[in-house]
Symmetry: D2
Subunit: 338 residues, 4 copies
């Protein structure tokens, strides 16, 4: 029973179906009919004109997004435990040709205007230090925490004042929106986000993330970086098909991206309820961080649960769209039984 | 009737089947059971120990391969019309952090020892010029020409003498091997190739190329570049599945990669035979380059054939594993009718 | 008797004097009083507002200039024998993080609108090829040829039409202007040049070139690249002192940069006159390219003349501001005596 | 009376003399007679074979040194307040093409084996995190602290165990050695240092630092990076002259680098003695960090002393080889008088 990550879950049947439906020759690269529909489809979803580029990984989506926002001598503010900093090897510097990450502290891996201003205030503003040019926040955060629209807007306001661009790493954006119950535009462009890495792979897709540019001009130059970086797949229609199936507004039961995220979040809540006394962070998306002794961890593993330790005396359990209800129930029972 | 490229063809049914068979949770990234089998499977195929890394595009495969071979101040010899030079935007420099392409002339986009030595002989060997560190050849070439094992070995010999590494861009490696009828080891490691970008996407896969390192040590450091470059997909098992299905030695009818390539080549021969007087290059793989007046091109297009002009008075027609026999026959007839 | 290059000549006494005059503590980096005067001094010289950054080498000046003009996925058109292409190792890609050089042919290492348009016309304009973003011309060229104001303006016009920036590698800009007898603005900003690498080291300075930005905004971001690239010297006042002494408009005998260039050019003319039948290029600046057999070259060397062979049967002789009149006369006599 | 930095001090008369002595034509770049003597001269000084490359700035020296030690996907451990991290803009990433700095804590900007191991212990060792490949320590540190030979050796031991390379940023290496009274080999190669950025500019030179490779093979490839980075000056003999004059073992009064550093250190001690109760760090080289109220700082400035505030309630005063004895005495008196 796998609760170590949502990023290895299988592919949703409707995503398979959409890919099969694209299984005919079409123009290569991003010239196919499906890729051509992305801007309009995401624009309708977000309620504003956007330009969308698909990418095969979150690291590439983040890297290309940041590469559109900063210079090689620029700096990006992000949380000290951001995926950018601790999980992408040399990715951010690779895609920006050397930009620096300036690390910000914050509870639950969340940035705040004060914490951002504290880091900015520590800089001298001379040519001997990399120029801050962007802020990157993760929604939901690496600790499964969610920024409200007001919280994002407050950061967006700092960005505007400081002439910084705002990037959102939305590897679990769907889980965040499902948790917030808000319009996706409310926590993005309306709150000052310039580019969103909109993750689908953890949420039931196979191999497609969307880089959503709320300033379409930024996308134009990124297409050359996308090609140079080896991200422009010749059969891109299979990626576009995944994205379109995920956000299809005409799906009877509502959009798949939201349905899947809601399912994952609901499973996490069941686990959270069972582990109420142990929670290290409020459970707002699909990740549960627990205090857990080594013995308790061993006990859970002996019962067949697979998950990551998260430092000493702690563990991370992640649910996904596909987490079986019975396995979630067994996990909840096991946690109660510790 | 599409003859503009093999790179937009649909996905082979057995590839779909293999991907579906991988549709269960497993360890993420390259830690899954299928990815773990790649080295052994490709090693058996090539008859020598190898290390294999999957990538989503040929540009990424080439870039990561070259990044393992050259320094940012290094140079790579390739043909003036190589994909590296004319079709990968800034890819080679992106992945090598600045290495230079030194362009070599040669008939049919083929390099020869003499042509390579001519370029090397024009260099001064001082620090004011980028250091030649690798040769890259394309098999089959951008004009559908094929290097024989002896021809590759002759280039491999130059590489060894000059202390250069030898890379093979095998976007259509399958077509070349099918054409040559040789063992895949004969035109690669036995002939001095250090790294092969082994293409599958043009040959019926969806999104997986294999970077085959004949020196496994080179692969180890490349794994970090692979991650940094945003190529390490979390659901890598779907890529590994494609590769393993392609090279499965136990397939009753023989390996799929070879079957598909043979089919594409056979279709190209039918077209070539029909256009015998117009051939600009011998047809040795699955590409046919023809002299064709503008009127003739228009006539073919009016009959429903889709293909690229290739400069003035010339055209490129590409067959694929999936080119329907009837469409190929119609094309042949149309060419004869011009 | 050294005629192999002007780049190893000693330092002019007035440059030494200017450096000594700066030999007191001042603010470090580019914050000193002399560096602060550069923009105004060069602006007065060129007759237009400029921003100026010093650099220790021509490769750095060119690299920083181009880095201000192009993206990592961009391309720069330059001559096939440009210093950028054949003498700066990986410099252009180093400073631009991967931009590509597109090589243009042209007699005497000179570009023409037609030759530029021919290269641009061969590009497809899709994302699979690096985006042309700049043209770089060398004044005087690598063969000692000079662009007239009209010739530069014609290239500037192509640049404007094609939305390309125009860079001038002026390692021997002084020699060119001395040869043309024009105002320095006439062959630069008035003719469409955006950034000039203005060389002084070959012309009697020790270690300072000037990057002259005719669009001062371009300089602002370049200051961060300048620092990151390790070009921002803490005792920058010694570089500024060299530049200011070179262009001092109040010097009684006229500006030193022009006097030195005129001297070098005049010496070259003496040599050229003596070798009239052997000239491979018109001598318009301070370089003389001759046909010279191996025996003749040996004979000259036996008489004490030091110079470079320039391929088989040819040689390059370079005069400088300091070439002694007697040595020039001896060389002329020796050439006549061959 | 300037105590804000040693990096803007004038040039020592003997350095001027050495540069003037080089003022004749010679082979360009690093091919001159003086540059050719560097390896032997520094080798004799350090008591081991070395290869030496000059550079115009400390940022370039550090960058080229690190570029020889790490890959673009590698990481360098350095102190949180290291010059690399806070004073070189994007330099380290520029020269390494993206390597990451992993920040280590430590009193007085000094690293210890425990602190290094703590950071290494927090890494997972998978491909999702940049590979630690080097440690960089600053001697003397950014707080004017000095590593003893034993302290460096302990870090060298960690480096060896962990298969990391050890770089020393010796912008004030002379001050450190003068303070320690040890052989320069004792705190470098004998203690495990692989490459030293040996600073001379803060110690009386004009524009030359030395990159000292204790593994000469590492220098060979660096020469191409040195050229590509625009650091290879054509009149390199003026840089070599500065270095050779600095370390000349035949100088009657002992080597200049040591004499100058001793003078700067002695001045700092006078200041330190006068400010004994205010010292924020032991004064071991030529920097004095004091607690100083805003009123006290204003009082000193009113008396003509120029220095940097170092956060609230603190100040940095730096002496140099040229600090006049009377100004130092006045400063000491003023500090006593506060």
């Amino acid at each position: 029973m796998k609760f170590f990550s949502d990023n290895a879950a299988p592919v949703h049947p409707e995503i398979w179906a959409a890919m099969h439906a694209a299984d005919h020759a079409d123009t290569a690269y991003a010239g196919d009919a499906l890729s051509a529909r992305l801007d309009a489809a995401f624009g309708a979803m977000f309620g504003t004109p956007v330009a969308v580029i698909w990418a095969a990984t979150g690291t590439a989506a983040n890297g290309l997004a940041l590469g559109a926002l900063v210079d090689p001598y620029g700096a990006i503010l992000c949380h000290r435990e951001a995926h950018l900093e601790v999980d992408e090897c040399g990715g951010p510097a690779w895609f920006t040709h050397g930009a620096k990450l300036l690390l910000v502290d914050g509870e639950g891996a969340k940035l705040t205007p004060d914490a951002i201003n504290a880091v900015l205030g520590g800089l001298r503003g001379d040519v001997h230090q990399a120029v801050p040019q962007a802020i990157s926040i993760t929604q939901a955060t690496e600790y499964g925490r969610v920024y409200t629209p007001a919280e994002v807007a407050a950061i967006g306001e700092v960005a505007r004042e400081r002439k910084l661009k705002l990037h959102m790493d939305g590897a679990r954006f769907a889980n965040a929106v499902a948790s917030l119950g808000c319009h996706p535009g409310d926590v993005t462009w309306r709150a000052g986000v310039d580019v969103l890495s909109f993750g689908f792979i953890k949420n039931g897709a196979m191999s497609a993330e969307a880089i959503v540019f709320f300033d379409p001009d930024l996308a134009a130059r990124t297409r050359f970086a996308h090609k140079s970086a080896g991200q422009l797949q010749s059969k891109g229609r299979y990626l576009a098909a995944q994205l379109l199936a995920m956000i299809d507004p005409d799906r009877a039961a509502g959009p798949l991206w939201l349905e899947n995220a809601q399912a994952a979040n609901a499973s996490a809540q069941i686990v959270a309820d069972a582990a109420a006394g142990r929670l290290l962070h409020p459970v707002q998306a699909n990740e549960v961080f627990l205090s857990l002794t080594a013995d308790e961890a061993a006990s859970l593993r002996a019962q067949g649960f697979d998950f990551y330790d998260w430092g000493a005396g702690a563990a991370r359990l992640v649910t996904s769209w596909v987490s079986p209800a019975d396995e979630v129930a067994l996990l909840a029972a096991a946690l109660r039984g510790l």
